[in-house]
């Protein structure tokens, strides 16, 4: 027990020191990378010097405070007219929960902090800096904006589902049937298009809201402030500061996709 506490303290102290160090060299991105490795500020490094690089930080220490909370998912799926299809095979999902060992399968073998294996993590499109889905799309129906958001043109998509094969995160959904048949007429958001059958869709980081200076709807819906959204290219942004101070991981960074959703565990 005592040992555990000491360990906790040491870890916390270490993080605090690291944070101090991180903040003190915030101006020089390279130094931060030395401290934290590739997991921090990769996107705003030399690989993509864009002025704006949107990213999300999921603070799992906050996310797990409320059990069975689905606020972010419910808000997103309502605003984006995502149908609730019962059959698991035909589900459409933009943001949902997966147990840690499924979201981070390469971590499943070792000893994990007790309870972590089955802890539900929030997963969504990673808006990769080097997105395989964009690379493979034969019609440019999915593409990356200069600010890093991976977009989807559901009017151009031919429904070949090559992007679904290419996405290493299972983030893409295909409309196996007409979603309008499942949507409730009364709750349809007229501000956002509904889809036809036979096209692929996914989270778009609420590009339609961001462009009007608003936060993504999932971020707004989270009462625990576990979802943070901001510009990683700006070292003074909330997300940059958060990542500079805390240890964060990304899903499957070894694939070189440079995902832009970070998890504080």
């Amino acid at each position: 027990m005592k040992l555990d506490k000491n360990y906790e303290l040491n870890r916390r102290e270490f993080l605090k020191n690291a944070a101090r160090l991180g903040i003190s060299v915030a101006g020089a991105g390279a130094a931060i990378e030395v401290v934290f490795g590739d997991d921090v500020l990769a996107a705003s490094s030399a690989l993509s010097p864009a002025a704006v690089r949107w990213a999300m930080v999921v603070d799992m220490t906050k996310c797990t405070r409320k059990t069975d909370c689905i606020d972010c998912m419910a808000a997103c799926h309502l605003v984006h007219n995502v149908p609730a299809i019962e059959n698991k095979r035909h589900e459409i999902k933009w943001i949902w929960k997966e147990p840690f060992i499924n979201a981070f399968p390469e971590q499943r073998d070792g000893r994990l902090r007790s309870g972590l294996a089955q802890t539900d993590f929030i997963v969504l499109c990673n808006h990769c800096d080097n997105p395989p889905c964009v690379r493979v799309c034969p019609t440019k129906a999915t593409w990356k904006r200069p600010d890093g958001i991976v977009m989807m043109d559901m009017h151009r998509c031919i429904g070949c589902r090559y992007c679904m094969a290419a996405c290493p995160y299972g983030s893409r959904s295909f409309n196996w049937m007409d979603p309008r048949k499942v949507l409730d007429e009364k709750t349809i958001n007229r501000e956002y298009p509904t889809r036809t059958k036979g096209v692929v869709e996914k989270c778009d980081f609420c590009a339609e809201r961001i462009d009007h200076g608003r936060l993504p709807v999932c971020v707004e819906a989270c009462s625990e402030r576990a979802l943070m959204f901001g510009n990683l290219s700006d070292s003074r942004s909330e997300v940059s500061a958060l990542l500079a101070g805390r240890f964060a991981i990304r899903r499957k960074p070894e694939l070189g996709t440079r995902p832009e959703v970070y998890y504080i565990v």
């Binding site: 059959n87 698991k88 095979r89 035909h90 589900e91 999902k93 997966e98 060992i101 499924n102 979201a103 399968p105 390469e106 499943r108 073998d109 395989p132 690379r135 493979v136 799309c137 034969p138 019609t139 440019k140 129906a141 151009r156 998509c157 031919i158 429904g159 070949c160 589902r161 090559y162 679904m164 094969a165 290419a166 996405c167 290493p168 995160y169 299972g170 959904s173 295909f174 409309n175 196996w176 049937m177 007409d178 036809t196 059958k197 036979g198 096209v199 692929v200 499957k252 694939l255 070189g256 996709t257």
Partner: protein, 385 residues
């Protein structure tokens, strides 16, 4: 020359009508798919490509294999293949037609398919595959039609056909290489992420295509007055034996890398396909049938005494065809999706509708083949009269 396809005996018309009926059954179910969506198939968000794309992948191999008769005949002046190059080219035409149809029936929005040309995307392997397949179809149509037309008139084929024939040789290799690149360049699908994918595709293509051609030559000889002869069939048998050996060797290489390296992700799909993973064994019997047929085929085709016996040869060729079909037309594509990116397992079973649509496409392909072979045979029968 089309008029040759309009007259024929009773057997010919029976076959044509059976194929038309099966194709119509496929069309009927396709219309249902068109109105309800791909929900009527067994595919889902985890296994998002299934039977259609598997058939496409397998048939690209059949199409590419025409090069195995064209190359020896035109580059090495191997005269024995002179009589059957046209059969190989027409087989390629029918196979590419099926490939295009299988892609088409797999589309969620088939009427938007021209977006591939309206918005050409060179970084997409699918764009290149479309270009390669369309080009291959056109090249073979021109070559086959010109050479058969010349044969009918008893003159030499037109001069422009020669460079086109030479072009068709690397082009055949390219269609299957690019098809392999569809899979081999995707991060996170470990079964597909292998540098020898294109080599494996070509080896299995050069086994399965000529194996089918052997069987077709035997059918043609039995039911018409055109005899392709014993020598080309025996030569094809040797090609099949070598290619199938290479194919099996390549599969062994995949096992070595996956198991000796011990990297879990590289092992999982093979484990699912051949031994079952997490208590799921859906494809295990099919994969071992494929291996069993491959071993049987090699025993029959490598051993000269069975290879020279045409009955055993036919058995061996059929074994090669079904072995590679199970491996490529079933296991390879579906296996790539299992386990999912979340390391969970969703199994895939095609639905009846999906199978009938697939059968419809195969029938349409064989209808094209039947008509083209009928024309060829009639021209040859006329010449020998």
């Amino acid at each position: 020359m089309f008029e040759k396809a309009r007259s024929g005996g009773r057997k010919y018309w029976t076959l044509v009508f059976i194929l038309i009926a099966l194709a119509l059954a496929g069309v009927f179910f396709y219309l249902r798919q068109l109105s309800e969506g791909l929900v009527i198939t067994g595919m889902g968000r985890d296994v998002s490509w299934g039977f259609y794309i598997s058939q496409f992948t397998f048939l690209v191999g059949i199409a590419a294999s025409a090069v195995m008769v064209v190359l020896p005949y035109y580059l090495h002046d191997f005269k024995a293949f002179g009589k059957i190059t046209i059969l190989g080219e027409f087989l390629a035409i029918s196979a590419v037609s099926m490939c295009i149809l299988f892609i088409f029936v797999d589309m969620g929005q088939p009427f938007r398919i021209f977006n591939v040309f309206l918005h050409p995307t060179p970084n997409s392997m699918m764009f290149w595959d479309t270009v390669a397949l369309m080009g291959y179809l056109l090249i073979n149509l021109f070559i086959a039609w010109a050479t058969l037309g010349a044969e009918r008139k008893g003159v030499a084929p037109p001069a422009w056909s020669k460079p086109l024939i030479y072009l068709s040789i690397p082009w055949a290799v390219s269609i299957h290489t690019v098809t392999a690149f569809l899979y081999a360049g995707i991060p996170g699908r470990h079964l597909w992420l292998t540098a020898i994918m294109a080599a494996r595709f070509l080896a299995s293509a050069f086994a399965s295509g000529p194996a089918l051609l052997i069987l077709l030559c035997m059918v043609v000889r039995r039911h018409t007055r055109f005899d392709p002869g014993r020598e080309p069939i025996q030569a094809l048998a040797k090609i099949v034996a070598y290619a199938m050996t290479a194919n099996l060797f390549f599969i062994g290489l995949e096992f070595f890398t996956a198991y000796y390296s011990g990297i879990p992700g590289h092992r999982h799909s093979l484990e699912y396909l051949f031994f079952g993973l997490d208590g799921r064994y859906g494809l295990v019997p099919f994969m071992w049938t494929s291996i069993g047929l491959a071993v049987l085929a090699l025993a029959l085709l490598i051993n000269p005494s069975t290879r020279h016996n045409e009955r055993w040869l036919a058995t061996g060729a059929a074994a090669v065809f079904f072995s590679t079909w199970l491996d490529k037309g079933l296991g390879l594509v579906v296996g790539g999706f299992i386990p999912t990116p979340f390391e969970s397992i969703t199994e895939y079973t095609p639905t009846v509708a999906e199978l009938i649509i697939s059968l419809g496409v195969w029938s349409l392909g064989f209808l094209i083949l039947t008509l083209l072979y009928k024309i060829t045979v009639s021209v040859r029968e006329e010449a020998s009269r």
